[in-house]
Symmetry: C3
């Protein structure tokens, strides 16, 4: 049996979160939203609040900036939809904490195929611009790219959202 | 009846304008080019002149940096092809003028499905790089992303150009 | 007869080199890796070494930072696979040397359809972020975009890699 895992990649304001929410909603049943964001400033606080309002009251929201693998293990279940929003913020948190990103990534990628229920992972595609000036940003996009490749290799579905619309990079609509 | 509207997204030098011109040319008849650019410096002046030369003399060119909705209402007509190049410059002009972008976007999106003839809108996809350092650039790509989503929801055709070639995100070739 | 040329575009850490290596490996026979990199700092040296290790010992590696057309003419042959990694570094080298980029691009594009064997060209897609602040970066992405368009017009296959997976922009898998 293949796990029901979808990786939703997209640029800024490409509608990836909304599309991902629609995927999780489809099968009905309980829905868990794993928010990886850490609120650093007013701009981010506003975004988080807006996203929560857009989602509506039918979701259980879990805040998990660091232990994503543990959180997925606890919340994924048959008949449940879990949405992780988003991997890039999780990665940012790991970098800030100077965590072992290769190890964290490996643990996540190993877990994913074993998870029950439907799991949708949202992440920002950040690698299609000019090489950033600063080394930290370059390291970040290297980590993000490697993470996306590793997950895409085990996920049966990979979607790139453009202007709110899905382009299927791997697999077909569920 | 569905309006004949195409959104052509693409990166810098991805051939989006040329592809869009080909779309407008296809049905024959009069062609109107709505240029939203405001010339700020020599680099931009050169680009504008080059684009005009590339297009050739068979186009009526209209310069409309701000009132895009009004210009579309005036120029769209049965048997006519209208090309808007580009939405990102229009958005830049609105931001510089501190216009109400949500209202302007809503008016455009409301108008589009009612327009006669063929309408092709070109815009830069700018959201697939690293988060920009400055807040203005972040606001710009937020506005651009939302605009693209809103238009893509009502346009029957959405194309992403890559290396001069079209990838159909929505719909099929006209 | 159409030449067996593939352009593999992709963002940073999108798996473009690995995908391209797989394309070259497919038909068996000798394989030549044309490396265009010039090592400027420790970060780049590390990347070059890692790529070489990943590729394994079955490749002949040729370093050619400037004369890509000459190198392709020398190494492309029936039954041979040639991988150029990557065009964006070649372009960087040309810009640093203040070479005539239009002429170099034209010579490459003219040569490609005449090459025997399988040729795979890897390049970074860099045009999908915010307009860079500095003029040099803007010129670079203009050159890169034009180069990609020119090659895509003559190559029977163009691929955009996303998260290590190929999206076919032109043609079908070989």
């Amino acid at each position: 049996m293949t796990a029901d895992v979808t990786l939703v990649l997209g640029g800024a304001r490409s509608g990836k979160s909304r599309y991902a929410e629609g995927l999780v909603t489809a099968p009905g049943g309980p829905r868990v939203y794993i928010a990886t964001s850490q609120v650093w400033d007013a701009e981010m606080a506003e975004r988080v609040a807006k996203h929560r309002d857009d989602r509506g009251p039918d979701w259980t929201t879990v805040e998990e900036p660091r232990d994503l693998t543990g959180s997925l293990r606890r919340h994924a279940a048959e008949g449940t939809g879990v949405l992780v929003d988003c991997l890039t913020l999780w990665l940012t948190n790991l970098m800030m904490a100077e965590a072992d990103i290769a190890a964290e990534t490996a643990a996540l990628v190993e877990l994913l195929p074993a998870l029950p229920g439907r799991v949708v992972l949202v992440s920002n595609e950040v690698g299609l611009g000019i090489v950033p000036d600063n080394a930290l940003a370059r390291r970040f996009r290297d980590h993000a790219g490697r993470l996306h490749q590793s997950i895409a290799a085990v996920a049966p579905r990979v979607v790139l959202t453009v202007a709110g619309l899905p382009m299927f990079v791997k697999g077909t609509p569920a």
